[in-house]
Symmetry: C2
Subunit: 342 residues, 2 copies
DNA sequence: CGATCTTACTGAACCGGATAAGTAACCCGA
DNA sequence: TCGGGTTACTTATCCGGTTCAGTAAGATCG
């Protein structure tokens, strides 16, 4: 029952601990015969290297950290994180890297967690999500020298590496598409206003709406929850005249918006067109299926993981890498506005 | 930049490493004055215990493991895991325990992962989900002596601790409710047939349907995906006569089923009543909102985490603890069947 | 006042690997 | 046949904590 160590292997093989270590790590210094014997014994008694002992001898922790600052409820609902994690995992598990996950309550707790993880040498690097304006985490990570990859940017990441996708282009494409369909009164239900990517989207939205000279272009902000999405939709649809199209910052709010529209007796897409930022299978499951700005989020996570592996590996200087821009995927929730509204 | 060790503290404080260790751990053997001095220095130079060194001296890894065997796509969609994780985290992060997450491809990979985690002393215990019939993981964990808590059961968990909820009672309650509303032809779209909890639900379903002598009681099995849920629904609704109510084994399939019904021109709940097992905010967001068997999944995760802490803590013998039974939460998707169907 | 007990430490071993330095044994060429 | 190089090891040290066995100095007490 006691877990075997290299000393056990050494005793059985009749050689020293050092020789066993060389044999197991493919280092030169032992004969092929001895190496085979050692490996066979290790296999036989089910030996695994004690990661603590390895780490103590200066090796890497072979683990990355990911702190999530969202309440439990939101976490469960939004597919984004889970998809991101599965993408990260795809990259890491192939390399036997572990992912340490922790939910934190606030920015201070997150920073304390980074200090602890790094101090305890539990992780070799971290992934940072939900970049904010003047995000204090960036400076702390730089000071600590803790390798990190920011999922977001490219602005405001300091000297940290990052991966990002061009949300501005996606917003512009969507608005142009809606306008091409004939919409002139459009609205937007956005996420939390202090998040970097929300700011990027708002700016792109304002620019393109001004450029196309739309008669109505309202932006609302929410906390990404279905409740607030529904509430914002209700407010928007109670206005006179009401918008003929709404762009949501995530799929959960778009689905909530769809339910509100149906409940208010509006037909989608006849009376109202809806577009969701981020596409999850949910968008295809509701009726009508939602037009969405699809991003391959697992791929985004994989890219971030690969980048972090690189940063940790060769201590590369800052690298900024761009993921694919969200693809506008028209489905049943968008159409030209009905005549009276045009 | 170099991370400080207790040797650094010892040098500064002018005492030995041993004294510093006693001081930092609240052990007797140092005077209050020295203890305060040591703690102040530790604080000042930003010392954190090296977890590897601690673990090497026989301490716990202060981490639990969770292996997920689902493809990336399903993981992102189903809120269950993320909610479970957030519940687990709520318990663990308060105790500075970390959660190691890894996605695995198949049962063998999962077992190999347990061996590795335990051998490398990376985790103090694991949470096991998706218990199957004759699940090979149980025996391996028992043999390894790796502390574990099965989320499921109570049958088939061997000598492992477990937490479970009474799905059979929930199924019975739901069927009785539908029958009380006047339904006599009901169907069920279930999850993967080799999962323990699916078997439990099927048996309860068969029993109660036989007892109530229903004229139609079909069970379909799926892989929990929205696609298969939609497909099963299409098949069920194409039958003559068709069922007037369907119980789904998760919310994703129920939402897919709702979309299928609407697409086939059936009104919900007029022509068809729907009930979802597991309630996520999604059920409230679609129109009509879905009647659901609500479980507090974060609480379920917390319970499992607390149990694992106990098992690890005092090496308690087998404990089986029951979580709350799913509560039937009627919403807009269930009603008495329209006259012709009764 | 000397024996004993307590307090507050020090020094060293230990955990399980990695690794540098040391050491036999053997081979090769001059 | 001897020096030099290689091979195949062994020995010892290190990583950063924990912990146990000392050990001085001071307090307590008969």
């Amino acid at each position: 029952m006691k877990r075997p160590t290299i000393a056990d292997i050494a005793r059985r093989a009749g050689v020293s601990k050092g020789a066993v270590s060389y044999a197991l790590n493919g280092q030169p210094g032992v004969s092929d015969a001895t190496r085979r014997r050692v490996l066979a014994i290790a296999e036989e008694i089910g030996w695994n290297p004690n990661s603590a002992a390895r780490a103590l001898s200066g090796a890497a922790a072979h683990a990355f950290g990911l702190a999530l600052r969202r309440p439990a409820s939101t976490l469960g609902l939004e597919p984004f994180y889970m998809e991101l994690i599965s993408g990260v995992e795809a990259e890491l598990s192939a390399r036997s890297y572990a992912l340490m996950l922790q939910v934190v309550a606030d920015p201070d707790a997150e920073i304390a967690l980074y200090r602890r993880w790094w101090g305890e040498r539990r992780v070799d690097g971290v992934l940072v999500c939900d970049l904010r304006l003047d995000d204090p985490r960036v400076k702390v990570l730089e000071e600590l020298g803790l390798p990190a990859v920011v999922v977001g940017g490219p602005e405001g990441v300091g000297t940290l590496a990052n991966v990002w996708s061009d949300d501005a282009a996606a917003v512009v494409e969507t608005v142009e598409y809606l306008v091409a369909l004939g919409h002139r009164r459009i609205a937007r239900v956005g996420g939390m206003p202090d998040l970097r990517h929300t700011i990027t989207r708002v700016e792109a939205w304002d620019d393109v709406c001004r450029r196309l000279d739309l008669s109505m272009a309202i932006s609302e902000t929410t906390d990404y929850s279905g409740e607030q999405g529904a509430h914002a939709t209700r407010r928007l649809l109670s206005a006179t005249p009401r918008p003929t199209a709404i762009l949501y910052d995530n799929d959960v709010m778009a689905i909530a918006g769809l339910a509100v529209a149906q409940e208010m007796g509006l037909t989608v897409p006849g009376d109202l067109s809806l577009v969701a930022f981020d596409d999850s299978p949910l968008c295809r499951l509701v009726h009508p299926p939602l037009t969405a700005l699809a991003r391959d989020i697992p791929a985004y996570g994989s890219l971030a993981a690969r980048q972090l592996l690189e940063v940790v590996g060769d201590g590369a200087e800052q690298v900024s890498r761009q993921a694919d821009t969200a693809r506008l995927t028209p489905r049943g929730s968008t159409a030209r506005p009905s005549g009276e509204d045009t």
